[in-house]
């Protein structure tokens, strides 16, 4: 683990500039900002229903331990912390973690950001009520191993939400050709289509982890309303909800 003891002023300035880029809703990460509400809505709804939380309070997630794996600049971590969760944001990239820390500081939000990997966290024996595994699996080398590592960190009674892109002809047309080459939403090369994962493959990876996938939903974009919403169509973007049942009382 690297521990930064001496603060390099120029490094901080550089990260600061990158943080404002990450968080600029009209900048490079605009697609992610547009995509965010549909994910947030799903997480909030599932968590409130699963844990029987009140939907009328401002911090319904108070007392919940949440892990945001591959947290990037903190686009999900910050809203989760605002909703009251104790958030651990993990990202393998030191740069992302520095960006996320700077922004959380500006927003006056406490988040436990760590430049680390799922494997390292799991090895430490850390567990969470909610594990968010959003838009990460399509970037990892060994999907099965990664999914199992994440699943290990879900406490009994807790759940994991995994969001990714399906490997279909349609996702090739929309997710690669459309998003990267035509609409230029994402830089060319952001995604590799052969790394996309089918929902069945995720379920299979979770088979022996004790996690059971109880719900899945598609996410589609309506270009006329310029809005993302949940849908039955799982051909491109989708999310799955997997829970670990509480241990039976002995």
């Amino acid at each position: 683990m690297t521990e930064s003891t001496s603060v390099d002023e120029t490094e901080v300035a550089r990260f600061s500039a990158m943080a404002s880029e990450w968080w600029d809703p009209s900048g490079k990460f605009r697609p992610l900002h547009k995509f965010n509400p549909v994910r947030l809505h799903y997480i909030r709804e599932k968590a409130c229903r699963h844990f029987g939380l009140s939907t009328s309070v401002s911090r319904p997630f108070e007392g919940l331990q949440l892990l945001d794996i591959g947290c990037g600049g903190g686009l999900l971590s910050e809203p989760m912390a605002r909703l009251g969760a104790h958030v651990t944001g993990a990202d393998a990239s030191n740069t992302n973690i520095e960006i996320a820390k700077i922004h959380a500081g500006q927003s006056d939000i406490k988040i436990d950001y760590r430049a680390t990997t799922a494997e390292a966290l799991s090895k430490n024996g850390e567990t969470f009520d909610i594990v968010l595994n959003m838009e990460v699996v399509e970037h990892v080398a060994d999907v099965d191993f990664f999914m199992q590592t994440c699943a290990n960190m879900v406490r009994p009674g807790g759940f994991m939400i995994t969001a990714t892109l399906n490997r279909t002809l349609k996702s090739f047309a929309l997710g690669i050709v459309g998003a990267e080459y035509i609409l230029r939403w994402l830089p060319v090369g952001t995604h590799k289509w052969d790394r996309f994962v089918k929902p069945g493959e995720l379920e299979l990876a979770l088979k022996d982890t004790g996690l059971e996938t109880t719900e899945q939903t598609g996410v589609t974009f309506n270009p006329i309303a310029n809005i993302w919403s949940q849908s039955k169509d799982m051909d491109v973007n989708y999310m799955i909800f997997s829970e670990r049942k509480k241990a039976r009382p002995v």
């Binding site: 404002s20 968080w23 600029d24 809703p25 009209s26 605009r30 900002h33 547009k34 965010n36 509400p37 947030l40 809505h41 909030r44 401002s58 910050e78 809203p79 989760m80 912390a81 605002r82 909703l83 922004h103 500006q106 927003s107 310029n226």
Partner: protein, 416 residues
Amino acid sequence: MKNQTVAHSVDKQYFDLVVAGGNYVGLSLAVAIKQALPEIGVCVVEPRHQKELVKDSRSSAVAAAARNLLNVLGVWADIEPHAQPINDMVITDSKLSDVVRPTFLTFDGKLDDGQPFAHMVPNGVMVASLYQKALQSNVTLITGDLVSNFDLTASGVQIELKSGLQIRTKLLAAADGVRSSLRELAGISVVQVPYDQIGIVTTVAHERPHEGRAIEHFLPSGPFAILPLKGNQSSLVWSEKTYEAERLLKMDDFTFQIELERRFGRRLGDLEILARPRGFPLGLSLARSFVKNRFALLGDAAHGIHPIAGQGLNLGFKDVAALAETVVNAARLGQDFGTLDVLENYQQWRRFDTVQMGITSDVLNRVFSNNSEPMRFIRDFGLGLVDRIPALKTYFINEAAGGGDHAPRLLQGELI
């Protein structure tokens, strides 16, 4: 500024939301958001003191949708005893010299649910009850002070008041009227179409009861609207070419009354002018954008339209309902509600409707403020059609009432 009064102590100088402008638009936004998110800090800054604010002697037509909003905010019960329902509406098209004014369009003023589609409400009563509600809801009210400068940054807004007070916030909402200084400070330009018309506003008492009937005479110089108030009184909105309006406003009371009676007619008997007539220049103005990162325009600061359709105030309440719902939805998802991606939803929701209403009023004004015979024929033919086709009439009345399927929840009478 020595005469600044602060309703609650402002020791904590951070608020989640700051509203500039404490008239009905600004106050109802503060109350609506506070109602849904009681734990957040909301501050309203208004240059006038409460006493001056509630002194507004004008009355406004409050459409059914706006009434729903006032009802959900818990102020309609206080307003209703002072509100005159509009039971029906008559539109005539005539020249000043016409002895008989032909009626071209009549509206029964009831909606499907039997409620009147609009009420005439004294502005002062409306502002006073919203002010009280804001105090009860723990909104911080700073009166006698104004936003003199602000700095929009990625993470927040640094606001400076004229008194020197410094406030930080996540979102600055500007409801500071047609000549919004905040809009200018934010660098948002305005598209303006001046009309060379002045709206003369006054209140009259008349001998006979109006029976809740609103009348709009489309005279060649512009519309002349008679709107019923409580008792044997009516509010007048009288549009004239600028030079003619200026001449009328300079007249002595006796001559002015003669001119007024020529237009008002004798239907309600003898008239008595109760309030000094005041002139308001008419025109269409539309802000090029309603939002920036951490900044939102609403009410007349976002759009000023011709009062021909009586929709200025109601558009303002629609802005309130849409912005409040946008902010509350974002907060419930844990989002920072001051950011542009959130505020764009408000703009998307409101701009189309505003532009459409602005164009409609503009076209109506142009078509009606015209003395040429062919034009008169066209509009009379058009109005006659509207009167004869029930579906078209229902559409117009529902539009005027401000309803619709995609209306924000407050306008449909629901909590956010």
